[in-house]
């Protein structure tokens, strides 16, 4: 059934490219076309998840393209297609009248097609192709409002950071080939790589995955990516881009195990990211930034799962997070449009005035908080059960991260459900928009399609929870090809549920009186651990300095040396030619004369060269006269200062060298 698989990736990629290329001309039809295309893609993805097709085509010498829907790729493909459809339906009425809808819809489809290819890729070359295409499309999407330099720069930061990590995949591909992985860089064959290379392959994949999934230390690009439109964030940071790295690790979990060190390293990084970026999320005062940091943290759970062998839990976390996070971003975007702010203090009361959006956001936030019976509660316990097998410390870190998740979710909820304050202004914390903005703009409502999207995603947050429990769980595990993974005990489920509820309740009660932390500390957390500043200081700035220094060197030293070397070389050549001319070797002299004539002939039409010749001429004369004096009368004759004659002399000099070669050869 390979046509099905080809259609699955060709449809979004093709329609997206067409819309993007047509541009303004297709603005009117773009939203409808995009929704239709993504709906059809969802249908194809669903069919593919059931039929599990495979496809192959030759690409490079011995390195074919192979696609397959097997293991986690089926459900993840469906999730990608679903979120794409939901986001495109949601934004089909938005964007304002003058917006470049075709560009937006086209890039979204292209992006989702790249993600679908990543998900179904079975060999490294095609995986890398889709992987990098996703990065480039994200650049175009984040920089959607291209007239604003700050947004464009943010897009550049995001692309460069992820591409820096992507280099790991290039190295991994080379190492896998060097290590003799059979099957043309097939992902399933990677664990069979010979030993020193096995670690290189693992390291390369891990770096690339961490970069895409914004794990530490790459997290900062996700913060900058919030400069893009909210629907873009809803797609990029839920089921695609930021989750793609975690997906790759889940997909190549056997490789992590085979390497020995890969699994623990990945699990620890995931757990630490989940805690630290969770705390970063707590420190945010901007809803989108809070959600972005929470994406890193939630992806940290998936990474933790991949590192500790909990593929079922990790995949369920992927699916649940995709639904919840896209829902949350869509609502944040809707409020941004309706109320003109995404600052948390400015959003006070937003949920009260926009009941549909408020309810949807509540479902999303409670899902992220790990409340029972929503999906992430079950998913988290499933993956933490695997982590427990690798030690209590890992489990405890994961549990701490779950508590932090409950804290930031409750914080967001608290703000949007608080009654809007009066215009009197109780505190200085509402910086973006005057207090009470929510109440004033309350009259406008969401368009109908947007509500359908929200309702569907909210439903998914609840319904997916079924997969965490008997009898669906074993079937789900079999579908993923994962077997024998540990199952959480009752006490684990109860503990995590109790912690989530308790943390949420504590936040709800204490939110009005935040912890009295020093401003430096809150600023550090609020600024995403200053990771970006660090990267700029340690990497970007030195590289730019080096580039500047090398450019100066190139210009002033290397270029000038060559110009100075010219006269010197010619001087030497002149001397050699003079010596040569005296000798009996008439053939050389004749050759020189012939070349001279040729040079004169070619020189004649070059009228435009006068100025340049004068410039060179000066240098030559100065250099040459002093040399000529030293070399005496013999050398003086050929130094006419005529460029073409120097060239002829150079030819003669080379002829002498050729003679030397002759002697070597004859001997």
């Amino acid at each position: 059934m390979s046509p099905l698989l080809w259609a699955l990736i060709a449809l979004p990629l093709g329609s997206g490219t067409a819309l993007a290329v047509l541009g303004r001309r297709a603005d009117r039809v773009a939203p409808g076309t995009a929704v239709a295309a993504s709906a059809a893609t969802l249908g194809l993805a669903g069919a593919a998840a059931v039929i599990r097709p495979e496809a192959a085509a030759p690409l490079l010498d011995g390195l074919p393209v192979r696609l397959a829907v097997d293991g986690p790729s089926g459900p993840v493909a469906v999730a990608t297609a679903t979120v794409t459809l939901a986001v495109l339906v949601f934004s089909s009425r938005g964007n304002g009248p003058g917006a470049a809808r075709a560009r937006f819809s086209g890039l979204m489809l292209l992006f989702s097609g790249a993600m679908l290819t990543t998900v179904t890729a079975d060999t490294l070359p095609v995986l890398l192709m889709a992987w990098e295409l996703m990065g480039a499309t994200s650049w175009a999407l984040i920089g959607y409002w291209w007239r604003e330099p700050a947004r464009v720069r943010a897009a550049g930061t995001a692309f460069l950071t992820t591409r820096a990590a992507d280099l790991g995949l290039y190295i991994a591909a080379g190492a896998a080939l060097a290590g003799g992985a059979a099957g043309g860089l097939d992902l399933d064959e990677l664990p069979g790589t010979a030993d020193p290379w096995l670690s290189v392959v693992t390291a390369g994949l891990i770096v690339a995955a961490f970069g895409k999934s914004a794990q530490l230390p790459f997290s900062f690009w996700l913060s900058r990516a919030m400069e893009g439109p909210a629907p873009v964030s809803a797609l990029l940071h839920s089921a695609t881009m930021a989750a793609a790295g975690a997906y790759l690790l889940l997909r190549t979990e056997p490789l992590l195990t085979a390497s020995g060190w890969g699994g623990p390293a990945v699990a620890r990084t995931g757990a630490v990211t989940a805690v630290l970026l969770g705390l970063v999320a707590v420190a945010q005062t901007d809803l989108k930034q809070l959600l972005a940091a929470s994406t890193c943290a939630q992806a940290g759970f998936m990474v933790l799962a991949a590192g500790s062998g909990g593929v079922t839990g990790g995949t369920l976390q992927f699916l649940g997070h995709a639904a919840a996070k896209s829902l949350a971003f869509l609502v944040a975007g809707a409020w941004l449009t309706l109320l003109g702010t995404k600052a948390l203090p400015g959003l006070r009361g937003a949920a009260r005035h926009h009941r549909v959006a408020g309810a949807a956001f509540t479902v999303a936030a409670l899902t992220l908080a790990g409340w029972p019976p929503l999906v992430l509660w079950g998913a988290k316990d499933l993956l933490l059960a695997s982590a427990l097998e690798h030690g209590a410390a890992l489990y405890a870190t994961g549990l701490a991260a779950a508590v932090v998740a409950a804290v930031y979710s409750a914080k967001a909820l608290w703000y949007v459900w608080r009654p809007a304050r009066g215009a009197a202004g109780e505190g200085g914390d509402s910086d973006a928009v005057p207090a009470g903005g929510a109440a004033r703009a309350g009259g406008r409502a969401l368009p109908a399609p947007a509500s359908w999207s929200l309702a569907g995603l909210a439903l998914a947050c609840a319904a997916l929870a079924v997969l965490a429990f008997e009898p669906a769980r074993p079937a789900f595990g079999r579908l993923l090809g994962a077997g024998g993974e540990p199952v959480p005990h009752g006490w684990e489920m109860a503990l995590s549920a109790a912690l989530a509820l308790a943390a949420s309740a504590a936040v709800w009660r204490r939110a009005a009186r935040p912890l009295p932390l020093p401003p430096a500390v809150t600023a550090w957390w609020g600024d995403w651990l200053r990771l970006e500043a660090l990267a700029r200081l340690l990497l970007v700035r030195p590289v730019l300095r080096l580039a500047g220094a090398l450019a100066a060197f190139d210009d002033r030293v290397l270029g000038r040396a060559v110009r100075a070397a010219g006269p010197g070389a010619l001087r030497a050549a002149g001397a050699a030619a003079a010596l040569d001319a005296r000798g009996p070797d008439r053939a050389t002299a004749a050759a020189a004369r012939g070349t001279l004539r040729l040079a004169r002939a070619t020189r004649r039409p070059a009228g435009g060269a006068g100025a340049g010749e004068e410039w060179l001429f000066d240098g030559l004369v100065r250099g040459v006269t002093s040399g000529a004096r030293a070399l005496g009368r013999l050398a003086r004759r050929p130094q006419t200062g005529r460029l073409h004659q120097y060239l002829a002399q150079a030819v003669a000099a080379f002829a002498v060298l050729a003679l030397a070669l002759v002697l070597v050869a004859v001997r």
Partner: protein, 503 residues
Amino acid sequence: MLTVLVLLPTAAAAVLLCLPRRAPRAVFLGGWLATAAAELALTAAIWAGYRPGGGIQYEQRVRWIPDAGVSYHVGVDGLSLPLMALTCVLFLACAGYTWARRGTRRVREFAALFLFLQTTCLGLFAALDLILFFLFFDLSIVAMYFVIAGWGHRDAARAALTFFLYTFLGSLALLLGFIGLYLAADPHTFDITELTRENPLAGRAAYGGLVLLAIGTGLAVKTPTVPFHTWLPPAHTEAPAVGSAILAGVLLKMGTYGFLRIALPVLPGAWREYTQVFVVVGLVSVLYGALVALAQTDFKRMIAYTSVNHMGYIVLAFGAAAATGAGAEEARRLAVTGAVFQMVSHGLLTGALFLLAGVLYDRCRTYEMAAYSGLAGRAPVFAALTGVAAFASLGLPGFSGFIAEFQIFTGSLGTRPVETSLAVLGILLTAGLFLRALQGMLLGPLRLPDAPGAGRPFPDLRTAERAAVVPLLGLGVLLGIAPRFVLDVIEPASRGVMELLAR
């Protein structure tokens, strides 16, 4: 057939020069366009009749200077055919692009010169005799000298002279090496196929090393690799757009093609001996080219330095291909195939970039990136195509550059892990510099240069300009998504090179 392909442009040039100077522009440009189109059709016919894996085909050999072992010997194989096709595509694009230019002076001479230049390029790729190769090599320098000096910008004369002197001296080193090969062969010959078969310098390490030094230096100047690249930026900055496109797109390939056609097969022993030198030179060119490009403020100069970077990958791959070690054969072949593919890909993409840079100069008379901002608002098609070309050039998958660079990296890493890992950084640096250029020039609020055309609109690409640029980028996409039809031609040839190198 090959001879017709090679000489037809010069014949057309002669005809054009016989026409009166006062004849309408359309006659000259039309003649050029028609010849270029006919050349492309001829190459397509040759490609259609070419059997992949069949060795050298369309071979033709005529005695020329029998006493000196020189003959007119031409033929095509999987190494030269893609480059000849690239040459014809680029020259056609340049002809189309010039059609759109109102301001080109002395159109008759311009067209004739480019037709002649096309002969030298095709002749070089077809040549199977060292003297023939050298002849076309030098004639291309002469022709390009006149293009830059005659139709360049302000400082063209000086840049053209630097270009001429530098590359001409390089070609003399090349000639010296050729003479060394000639003398080593028994009987003496300049024929490349005979020299390849004979491997005349096997077992003569010192002599082989000297000859490789001469040939390597000559080709390195043309490629160019660091530190022999200093002629390139001024030549590009001053050359007219089509001149730059041909210079970067085709002429630079003469250097790398020379390595593949002469240095590797004829001097396998010396190449294996000194392969480390080429790996390091390639790596330095990659990183140095990218870093210096990053610091440029002039768009065209920046592209010129990225050429140093892109050519560096090729030299690196050639160096890595020579490493000894069983089992890595498949990977090293991948590197060589990638290098040949990179020649084609770089020709298409950099050709397109230089033509687009020419549009910039045409509209506002400056290449300074700081002078522009937000061009996407005024000229969306120009901005879109420049963006696409930039992303293609930074090696984005879906374009030909990725297919080339992925093969080079993947194939080289096994034998040269440290150097290749460092060279991979090159694609990050190029990503950075192209993004910076795009952000500065195309995006953001609109700003155009003040002088001398202040307040002038920046008209979007004209139809003929689009017609010249879009096919180049279209081919870049085609080769990036469905590279098999070219790889099928290259792969048997690179297998042949590997076998010759293993002797």
